[in-house]
C-alpha cells in the first residue's frame, strides 16, 4: 500500500482523536510519512468530530479532498452519512452500529436515518460497506469505551501492516489497566471483516 487516506468521524467524546493518534503512530512505525488533522475544543461538547489521517511517501496536505477517502471509519451511524461524500468510489466504509441522536432528532422531531438507509447510501458510494457491532462487543468485554478499538481492529484487518505495530502503539497509548481489554477489543474487531 503506497498511500492511504483515512477519515475517522463520530461524536465528541467517542475517542476519535485517540483512535486517529493510534492510527497515525502505526503509520509512522510502518515507515510512512504521516499527516493528521482535526478540529479541537468545540467538539467535546457532543458536536460532530472528524479526523483526517493520511499515509504516503510524502504527504503535503493534512486534509483529504472529497471523494478521496480510501477508508471512512464512522464511530456513529449518522456521522457516517454526514461525511459520505469524502468516500472514494473504491473506498471502504466501516460503520459502528451505534446511534447517538443529536437534540434535533432526540427531542426535536428530525429524522434519524435507519440502518437500511445508511447501508444503501454508503453502498452507492463505496466498494465495501461493513457495519460493525463495536458498541455491543465493547459492552460484552465490559467497557463501552473500547468500541473505537474494535473499529481499529477491523480496519487493521484490511491493511497490509503487521498487527504487532498496532498492539505496540495501543499498549503505549491507553492507561495500563485498560491495555488488556483494548487488546481483546482489537482482536475482536479483526474478526469482524
Amino acid at each position: 500500500m503506497e498511500k492511504a487516506n483515512f477519515l475517522l468521524v463520530g461524536v465528541g467524546g467517542q475517542g476519535i482523536v485517540t483512535a486517529s493518534d493510534i492510527l497515525s503512530e502505526v503509520g509512522l512505525r510502518a515507515g510512512y510519512d504521516v499527516k493528521k488533522s482535526e478540529v479541537h475544543g468545540m467538539s467535546q461538547r457532543g458536536g460532530a468530530v472528524s479526523s483526517h489521517v493520511r499515509f504516503g511517501p510524502t504527504v503535503h496536505a493534512p486534509l483529504i479532498a472529497q471523494g478521496e477517502a480510501d477508508f471512512l471509519l464512522a464511530f456513529e451511524m449518522l456521522e457516517s452519512l454526514r461525511w459520505a461524500h469524502y468516500l472514494h468510489p473504491q473506498g471502504v466504509a466501516l460503520v459502528n452500529r451505534q446511534k447517538m441522536p443529536p437534540l434535533a432528532a432526540a427531542s426535536g422531531g428530525a429524522h434519524y436515518p435507519d440502518e437500511e438507509e445508511v447501508r444503501r447510501e454508503l453502498s452507492s458510494r463505496a466498494r465495501q460497506v461493513t457495519l460493525i457491532d463495536g458498541l455491543r462487543i465493547a459492552q460484552e468485554l465490559g467497557n463501552v469505551r473500547v468500541s473505537g478499538t474494535v473499529l481499529l481492529g477491523a480496519l487493521s484487518a484490511l491493511l497490509a501492516i503487521a498487527p504487532a505495530f498496532w498492539e505496540e502503539v495501543i499498549g503505549e497509548r491507553v492507561p495500563s489497566r485498560y491495555v488488556e481489554v483494548n487488546r481483546q477489543a482489537f482482536q475482536a474487531g479483526r474478526s469482524e471483516v
Partner: protein, 587 residues
C-alpha cells in the same frame, strides 16, 4: 528519532531547544496547547497570565531583563495585546522574544478570521510562517536567534491546520538546550523608555532595521525557490504551500518562510523566471499586495482563491481548475441528499450554565453575553442571548443599554476566566460612573471551553500546582459593589429571586453563579445517581425537552426518558417538571 507532533507541540519543542526561560499565554484556540506542551519541560517556567496583554508584557519584561521568553495567543488575542506588541518593536529586547499568533481561518472557534500577517507589517515586526510541524519547531528555534540578531521581537504566525495537525518532526532525544547565563544588568533608559524624546530616534532605528531584515530575507533559506514548470510560478506560505503542492505538484514555487519583510530580490528573480505569477494564500491578499509593491505583476490571486474561510484541497483545486493550471477533472461526489439532523456543540448534561440561562429566559431580558462555553446559550433551545462581545465586553454592553436609555433591562453574563481576563475593568467602570448594571459571573471553577485551564479564581497553575486564589465576590466588594451574592448555579429558585431583586435595585449587582464544570473531577465525584422519569406521571408536556439537555430523549409515546449514562444529576429537569415525574434514581 521521528515523532508525530502537532504544530503547537512543535513550537514548544522549538522554544525548549532554544533554551527559552519563560513561556506565557492566555488560553485561546488554536494556540492553547503551546503553553501546555511547554509546561511538560521542567526547566521552563510557564504561567497562565490574566490576559494576552499581561502575558505579552510579562514576556517582554523577561526579555528586557535578559532571558529568552515566548508568548502565545490566538489571533484576536493579539488585539488584546496590541499595545505591548507595537511597543516592543521600538524598544527592542536584551534576549530573544517570540510572539506566536495562531490564527483561525474558517472561524472554527472564533468571532472572526482576521489575518494577523497584517500585524507584522503594521508594527514593523519580522514574521515567520511555518508550513508543517517540523518547520514550526525549526522556525521557533531560529526566531529567537533572529530576535537577538536584529534586536526585535519576532512574530511566528500559524493557523489552525498548522497548530492542530500532526506531522513528522525529527527530535533528538539526547539534546540538551543551551544554559543561558544572565548578562550583568545595566540601565539603558534611552532604549527602554519611549517618551517622545527617546522614541523619535528609535523610529529611525526601526526603519533602518527593516532594510537589514529585507536583506536577511533575501539570503535566508527560510525563503526558497523550487523550480518546476516555468509556465506557472506560485508564491505561497504557511499551510497554503501544502495544498498548492498537493494540487499542482509540477509548478514552480516561491515558498516564503519569512513573510515579513518579503525578500525583494528573490521575488523579482522568481517572477523573471516564470511566465505568470500566481499567489495562493488564505484570507487577505497580503502576499499579493506585498509582491505588487515590489513592482512584480501578479497574474492571479484573490480572483481565483477565496478571501473567505479556510482552504482545503478542494478549494485550491477549484481555483487551479478555474485558471486552467490543472485539467478540469471529474466533479467531487455530492453530499448526501437526505436532510441530516445537525449536530452542533451543546452544553454538556449537567452544565451549570443551562440552569442559569433557563432562569434568564423566563425573565425576558436583554442578555449581553460574553465568550466561553456559556455562549452556546445563543443557540436553541436556550436562545437567551442578545449580544456577544469580545472578551469582557458583556458588562459594558449591558451598561450601554442603560446609558442609551432603553426601557428594557439588561443583564450581563460572563464566565469566571473571562471576568478575570477583562471584566474587572468594565465592572469598575460601572461603579465609578454610577451605573446599576446587573452582572452575573458564571463561576464554573475553570477556563472550560479551551480545555479546563486554571485562572486566578481557581489558583491552579500550568502544571496543576496550587497558586494564589482570588475570590470574585471579594474582588467585587473591593471594587465598591455592595450588592454581591454567591448563588449555587443549580438553584434556579434562588437565582430567580436574586436576579429579580437586582433588576429593581438602583445600584450595580454582582451575582456569582457558582458550581463546578460538570467535566471536572471535583464535580464528577459529587454526582448522585442518574435521574429517572416516572412514565406513569409523565404526560409528555415537553417542558423538560425545552431545557435542551442531551440526556433527555423523547420516547415513541412522546414521553421523556433519561439516558442514565449521560445524566449528570443536576436536578434541573426535576425542578422544571410540573408533574413531579422526575426524581433521582437509586444508588
Amino acid at each position: 528519532m521521528k515523532r508525530l507532533l502537532s504544530g503547537n507541540e512543535a513550537v514548544a519543542q522549538g522554544a525548549y531547544e532554544a533554551g527559552v526561560r519563560v513561556g506565557t499565554a492566555y488560553p485561546g484556540t488554536p494556540s492553547t496547547e503551546i503553553l501546555e506542551a511547554l509546561s511538560r519541560f521542567p526547566a521552563v517556567r510557564t504561567l497562565w497570565a490574566t490576559n494576552e496583554k499581561v502575558a505579552l508584557e510579562t514576556a517582554l519584561g523577561v526579555a528586557y531583563a535578559g532571558a529568552r521568553a515566548i508568548v502565545a495567543m490566538k489571533h484576536v488575542g493579539v488585539n488584546v495585546a496590541a499595545d505591548p506588541f507595537f511597543y516592543g518593536v521600538y524598544t527592542g529586547i536584551e534576549a530573544g522574544m517570540v510572539i506566536v499568533s495562531a490564527d483561525d481561518p474558517g472561524m472554527h472557534s472564533s468571532q472572526n478570521e482576521q489575518d494577523n500577517r497584517r500585524y507584522a507589517k503594521f508594527a514593523k515586526m519580522p514574521m515567520l510562517e511555518p508550513s508543517d510541524s517540523e518547520e514550526a519547531r525549526d522556525f521557533t528555534r531560529l526566531a529567537f536567534d533572529i530576535s537577538e540578531q536584529f534586536d526585535v521581537p519576532v512574530l511566528l504566525r500559524t493557523t489552525t491546520r498548522i497548530a492542530h495537525s500532526l506531522s513528522v518532526v525529527e527530535v533528538d532525544p539526547d539534546y540538551t538546550p543551551p544554559q543561558w547565563e544572565l548578562k550583568p544588568y545595566h540601565r539603558n533608559a534611552r532604549k527602554y523608555t519611549m517618551i517622545p524624546l527617546n522614541a523619535r530616534p528609535r523610529h529611525i532605528v526601526v526603519e533602518e532595521r527593516l532594510r537589514r531584515l529585507a536583506a536577511y530575507s533575501d539570503e535566508t533559506p527560510l525563503n526558497r525557490i523550487e523550480w518546476g514548470d516555468r509556465r506557472i510560478g506560485i508564491i505561497t506560505s504557511g499551510i497554503s504551500y501544502g495544498y498548492a503542492r498537493e494540487v499542482s505538484p509540477g509548478a514552480s514555487f516561491l515558498k516564503l518562510g519569512m513573510s515579513f519583510p518579503l525578500p525583494p530580490q528573490k521575488v523579482r528573480e522568481f517572477a523573471a523566471g516564470v511566465e505568470q505569477v500566481i499567489v495562493i494564500e488564505e484570507l487577505d491578499p497580503y502576499l499579493e499586495e506585498e509582491v505588487h509593491l515590489l513592482g512584480v505583476e501578479v497574474a492571479h490571486g484573490k480572483d481565483a482563491f477565496p478571501i473567505l474561510y479556510e482552504f482545503d484541497p478542494d478549494v485550491v483545486r477549484a481555483g487551479a481548475r478555474k485558471l486552467g493550471l490543472i485539467p478540469a477533472g471529474s466533479p467531487a461526489p455530492k453530499p448526501v441528499a437526505m436532510e441530516l439532523p445537525p449536530r452542533p456543540p451543546v452544553l454538556c448534561p449537567g452544565c451549570p450554565h443551562r440552569a442559569v440561562y433557563h432562569v434568564l429566559r423566563r425573565l425576558k431580558l436583554i442578555v449581553n453575553n460574553d465568550i466561553g462555553c456559556y455562549t452556546l446559550a445563543v443557540l436553541p433551545p436556550q436562545s437567551t442571548t442578545d449580544t456577544m462581545s469580545c472578551m469582557g465586553g458583556s458588562i459594558s454592553a449591558a451598561y450601554g443599554v442603560e446609558l442609551a436609555g432603553l426601557p428594557e433591562r439588561a443583564v450581563a453574563t460572563i464566565g469566571d476566566s473571562t471576568f478575570f481576563h477583562s471584566g474587572i475593568t468594565a465592572l469598575l467602570n460601572v461603579v465609578y460612573n454610577g451605573g446599576r448594571t446587573v452582572v452575573i459571573v458564571l463561576d464554573n471553577r475553570t477556563t472550560a471551553m479551551t480545555g479546563h485551564q486554571g485562572h486566578p479564581g481557581t489558583g491552579i497553575g500550568t502544571r496543576g500546582e496550587h497558586l494564589r486564589e482570588v475570590a470574585i465576590e471579594d474582588l467585587g466588594r473591593a471594587l465598591g459593589i455592595r450588592r454581591v451574592f454567591v448563588v449555587d448555579a443549580y438553584d434556579t429558585r434562588e437565582m430567580l429571586r436574586v436576579v429579580k431583586e437586582s433588576l429593581e435595585a438602583d445600584e450595580p449587582s454582582l451575582i456569582v453563579a457558582r458550581r463546578a464544570c460538570v467535566l471536572l473531577p471535583e464535580a464528577r465525584k459529587e454526582l448522585g445517581p442518574a435521574y429517572r422519569v416516572d412514565p406513569e406521571r409523565c404526560n409528555g408536556c415537553g417542558l423538560c425537552f425545552a431545557v435542551g439537555c442531551p440526556a433527555i430523549a423523547k420516547t415513541a409515546e412522546g414521553k421523556a426518558e433519561i439516558d442514565e449514562l449521560l445524566c449528570a444529576a443536576c436536578d434541573l429537569c426535576a425542578q422544571v417538571c410540573a408533574r413531579g415525574a422526575i426524581h433521582p434514581g437509586k444508588e
